[in-house]
């Protein structure tokens, strides 16, 4: 059992565990922790594949994002009479069928199309990255800017205004 596969398995376990907790936890804190774990694991994957920069971005964006999210969550989430925040889940068969069906169809579709193991990584420095963004992916970059502009204005509009 190679070190790669060990790392991979560990990260995979963490990611799955985190994701599942995020989706099923009744307690807000647990959910937050689960999500954190999931995101960290994702970051871990990036780094493990050599996409360090990607990992960094992921880390910053999400740690920030998730922290904010959690703060609001604890503020907003509906509380039980005892005062402990509770996240309810309505498990229903339709949702299960949809999720399960999607999983089955996609996985079967991809089976065979992809190799079993990761044989090569992505190694690239920030310099090349900049080159890409100012070169072939300039449009993407611009669009990203547009997107952020939209986000900015949207958030300001929605949160900035009093209840007009």
């Amino acid at each position: 059992m190679s070190i790669e596969s060990v790392v991979f398995s560990v990260l995979g376990v963490i990611a799955v565990a985190g994701g599942v907790i995020t989706v099923f936890a009744r307690d807000v804190m647990r959910m937050a922790i689960g999500l954190g774990a999931f995101l960290v694991a994702v970051t871990g994957f990036f780094v493990y594949w050599g996409a360090a920069f990607l990992g960094v971005v992921q880390l910053f964006v999400y740690i920030g994002g998730v922290l904010v999210l959690m703060i609001f969550a604890i503020m907003l989430v509906h509380r039980t009479p005892e005062g402990s925040p509770v996240l309810e889940t309505r498990h229903d068969i339709a949702a299960l069928a949809v999720a399960g069906g999607l999983f089955f169809l996609v996985v079967t579709a991809l089976s065979g199309a992809v190799p079993d193991s990761i044989d090569q990584g992505i190694a690239s420095g920030t310099g090349e990255l900049a080159g890409v963004f100012l070169g072939p992916m300039l449009t993407h970059f611009e669009m990203g800017g547009v997107l952020l502009l939209a986000v900015l204005v949207a958030v300001v509009v929605i949160l900035g205004g009093d209840e007009g």
Binding site: V106, T139, H140, M143, L147, L149, A154, V157, I158, G161
Partner: protein, 473 residues
């Protein structure tokens, strides 16, 4: 690159300027800035529509119908923004909203001509984010609810598209441009490709609001401010339909056997037509009825998408006609409200308006007839060509379903005309101070005039002039 992206940049610039102006609380100016950007963008786009089609940086298409579509999108948006000048200049953050509208239109314009999966994804996302805010901006409980539901569904759709993108990029990637992916992929129609195809098809079907991905549209268009509903109902669909045919039938998935497009979009088309037509019959709310009818209209467009490249021009014309007409009827809702502040939003509540504001009512009637697909309006030529192509492709039953549905649609479009013209005004007509929104009204009248002109002119001049705008070769 600049040729391709220039118009969009102009629009975005206008939007950015609007944001700035809003910061100084110069809303009216902000609106005009946006309009100016749109107009400039439209003009440049029309100019470049005279060029032969090119693809710049493997990312953006331009020339002929592609630029033409962009121009049409911007032009319609410009008229609608002008029409919504008064409500915007009165709304809090009006300038910001105008900017959001401008951005979403720019994004739509990008999607329409994008030749890159990632650009498409970002464009769709930008449109969506703006749309959430614009729907929300009615600042009512209902609009907030609608916006957040819209968001939940949107997130799922984005996720699905992202999944599809991951598959394609992961397998054939290192670049997301159509040309590249297509080149690497060849005509391989393996399960991964078809899966990605469906996932992206779903994302687009959601964007245009086809059954069963339509639910957001009903709530959003009902509760959004009429002038934004006018913008969101039509323009994005035009962009999306063009983008769909490019993506699914002309580039990345062109290698798939046509059965795929036919079955996926054909079934969606039939479902949407039936759902929209039948569901619209039950609506009492004017805007919600229009939202339902929008689902049916998307169905007609999807007939074109199902046929594929051959129907591109026809489909584009059909959706463009829809965008104009939908803009008119939604904008009219705002005008009605300003004439009758105590209007409860129901169709019945429009009783007798035909006498009070004849020109407005007649223009609305024209737009409705265009939506029905009556001759002498632009809507007719759209349906005529789409169904014609479907027939010549051998799918006359598809055309027949659409045609019959458009008959049913008179059931609800007609109920509006009935209220406007056949019913007497209610006794308590003058509830609340009525000051008609001239801006909105004149915009509606103008759009109706466009519909008529495009509807009548081909009779004597032939269809060429109209089609030249939407020829994608």
């Amino acid at each position: 690159m600049l040729v391709a992206f220039g118009p969009h940049v102009l629009v975005i610039a206008g939007a950015a300027l609007a944001v700035a102006l809003d910061a100084f609380d110069r809303r009216a100016l902000a609106v005009f800035a946006t309009v100016a950007g749109l107009v400039a963008g439209a003009v440049t786009a029309f100019v470049s529509s005279l060029r032969s089609p090119t693809i710049s940086g493997d990312v953006l298409l331009s020339g002929t119908g592609f630029s033409g579509t962009v121009g049409v999108i911007f032009a319609i948006a410009a008229v609608l923004m002008l029409g919504s000048w008064r409500p915007l200049s009165r709304a809090p953050f009006g300038g910001g909203l105008a900017a959001l509208a401008g951005v979403s239109v720019a994004a739509a314009g990008t999607v329409a001509v994008a030749a890159d999966l990632l650009v498409v994804l970002i464009g769709l996302e930008a449109m969506a984010l703006c749309a959430y805010a614009l729907v929300w901006s009615a600042r009512t409980a209902r609009s907030t609810e609608a916006a957040v539901k819209y968001f939940v569904q949107g997130a799922v759709a984005t996720g699905l598209f992202l999944l599809g993108l991951a598959i394609l990029f992961g397998l054939y990637g290192s670049s997301t441009s159509y040309v590249w992916v297509r080149g690497v992929m060849g005509t391989a129609a393996g399960p991964p490709v078809t899966t990605a195809f469906v996932l992206m098809a779903v994302a687009f079907a959601y964007k245009v609001g086809a059954f069963p991905f339509h639910s957001w549209a009903l709530d959003a268009f009902e509760t959004a401010p009429p002038h934004f509903a006018a913008l969101l109902a039509g323009v994005p669909k035009l962009a999306a339909v063009v983008a769909m045919i490019v993506l699914f039938s002309r580039s990345v998935f062109a290698g798939l056997p046509t059965d795929y497009q036919l079955w996926v979009f054909g079934s969606l088309a039939v479902l949407s037509v039936v759902f929209g037509a039948a569901g619209g019959l039950l609506q009492s709310s004017y805007t919600r009825m229009l939202a339902y009818s929008g689902v049916a209209q998307v169905g007609y467009a999807l007939v074109g998408v199902a046929i594929g490249a051959a129907a591109m021009t026809a489909a584009a014309l059909l959706v463009a006609a829809y965008a104009v007409a939908a803009g008119a009827v939604f904008l009219a809702a705002g005008a009605f409200r300003s004439v009758r502040p105590d209007w409860d939003g129901t169709i019945g509540g429009l009783a007798g308006l035909g006498k009070e504001r004849r020109l407005l009512a007649v223009s609305v009637a024209v737009a409705l007839f265009s939506l029905i697909g009556m001759p002498l309006t632009a809507g007719f030529w759209g349906k005529f060509l789409v169904f014609g192509v479907a027939v010549s492709a051998g799918y006359w039953w598809l055309a027949l379903i659409g045609i019959v549905a458009s008959v049913i649609s008179f059931g609800y479009y007609g109920s509006v005309m009935r209220a406007l013209f056949f019913e007497p005004s209610p006794a308590s007509a003058s509830g609340g101070e009525s000051d008609s929104d001239r801006g909105a009204e004149s915009a509606v009248v103008f759009l109706a005039f466009v519909l008529l002109a495009v509807g009548v002119a081909p009779l004597v001049a032939g269809l060429e002039p109209v089609l030249r705008l939407f020829s994608f070769t």
